[in-house]
Symmetry: C2
Subunit: 176 residues, 2 copies
C-alpha cells in the first residue's frame, strides 16, 4: 500500500490551520509540516482572501500533497464568523482543484471520532492524540494547527476504511 501525503486545512480567515501528514493505516504516521496562515482582521476581506490563497498555493506547490482534507463548515453555529470560514474553505478547495489535487471534506465530529474514538472529544483531547499519534514532544500550537493535523490523520484512516469496505464489497461480488 502506497503512503499517502495529506494536507489538512482547518479553514479560517484570522487563523487557518494547515498540517501535512504522511503515512498509511497500520503504520506510524509522519508529521511533514504544520503551521497557521494568519490574515489581519483589519485588512479588507478581499485582500485577506487573496493572502490566504497565496499562502495555501505556496504550501501546495512546496509540499505536493496527494489529497487536501478540509473541515466541512456548517452554517448553524457561530453565525458571525461562519461566512469567513466558508469563504476560507472555498479558497482551500479552489487551490487544490487548480493543482488537480482531490479534495475531501470531513465534519468536526468525524475528525474527533477518528483520532480520539469519540465524536464529542474536546480540543485538548484531540491535541493530545495528535501529539501521541505523530510522536511529537508537545502538542502543536495553536489549536488550529492541531486540528489541521487531526483532519489529515482522519483522512488517511477514513480513506483506508472506505477502501477496505469497497474491496470487501468487490470481493463479495466476485465470490458470487
Amino acid at each position: 500500500m502506497r503512503s499517502l501525503r495529506v494536507l489538512g486545512v482547518d479553514p479560517g480567515l484570522t487563523r487557518c490551520g494547515v498540517g501535512i501528514v504522511e503515512g498509511f493505516v497500520g503504520r506510524p504516521l509522519d508529521l511533514v509540516d504544520v503551521g497557521v496562515v494568519r490574515t489581519p482582521s483589519d485588512l479588507d476581506l478581499a485582500k485577506r482572501l487573496l493572502r490566504l490563497e497565496r499562502a495555501l498555493d505556496e504550501i501546495v506547490v512546496r509540499q505536493r500533497p496527494d489529497v487536501v482534507a478540509v473541515e466541512r463548515v456548517f452554517s448553524q453555529h457561530n453565525v458571525r464568523t461562519v461566512m469567513g470560514t466558508a469563504q476560507a474553505s472555498g479558497i482551500a478547495m479552489l487551490v487544490a482543484a487548480r493543482h488537480g489535487i482531490p479534495v475531501q471534506l470531513h465534519t468536526p465530529s468525524e475528525v474527533k471520532a477518528a483520532v480520539t474514538g469519540s465524536g464529542r472529544a474536546d480540543k485538548a483531547q484531540v491535541a493530545a492524540m495528535v501529539t501521541r499519534l505523530l510522536r511529537l514532544d508537545a502538542p502543536p500550537k495553536p489549536a488550529d494547527a492541531a486540528d489541521a493535523l487531526a483532519l489529515a490523520i482522519c483522512h488517511i484512516w477514513r480513506g483506508a476504511a472506505q477502501n477496505r469496505l469497497a474491496a470487501a464489497v468487490a470481493a463479495a461480488g466476485a465470490a458470487r
Copy 2:
C-alpha cells in the same frame, strides 16, 4: 466627473449573475455586458469553484471594471445553499483583489432601495427598473443577471452619494 465601470456579481454556484454597467449619477447609465456563469451541480464542489474563478477572471481581464460590487451574503436565510453562495462570493472577491480592483459589498435591500426606492421590492420590480434604467428592450434573464446589473447600478449611485457626503463634510470643515 469620471465615468465608473462597475462589475456587479450576484454570487451563486449554480448560477452566478454578472453584469457590467458604466456611467455616473445624473446621466443615463450604459449596459456593457451581462450574463450568468453556471457550474453543474453534479460536479465536485472544488471543481465548481475553480470553473467559477476562471470564468470571473476571464470577465475581469476582458472588461477591466473599476470596481467589483458583490452582494453581501447573510447566513440566516436559506441555510442549505448559503455556504455555496458564501464561497462563490469569496471567489469573486479573490479575483478582484488579485487584479487590484476594489471590492464593495451591498446588501440585497440596499440594492432594491437604490434601483426601486424600496428595500422590500420584489424581483420583478427590480428587473423592471433595471430594464428602464439601462434602456433595454426586455428584462435581462435570468433573474440573477438582472440582480447583478442592479448591484452595479446601486454601486454607482451609492458611491456618488457617499462621495457627495464626504465632499460636503470636507467643505464644512474648510469653511470653519
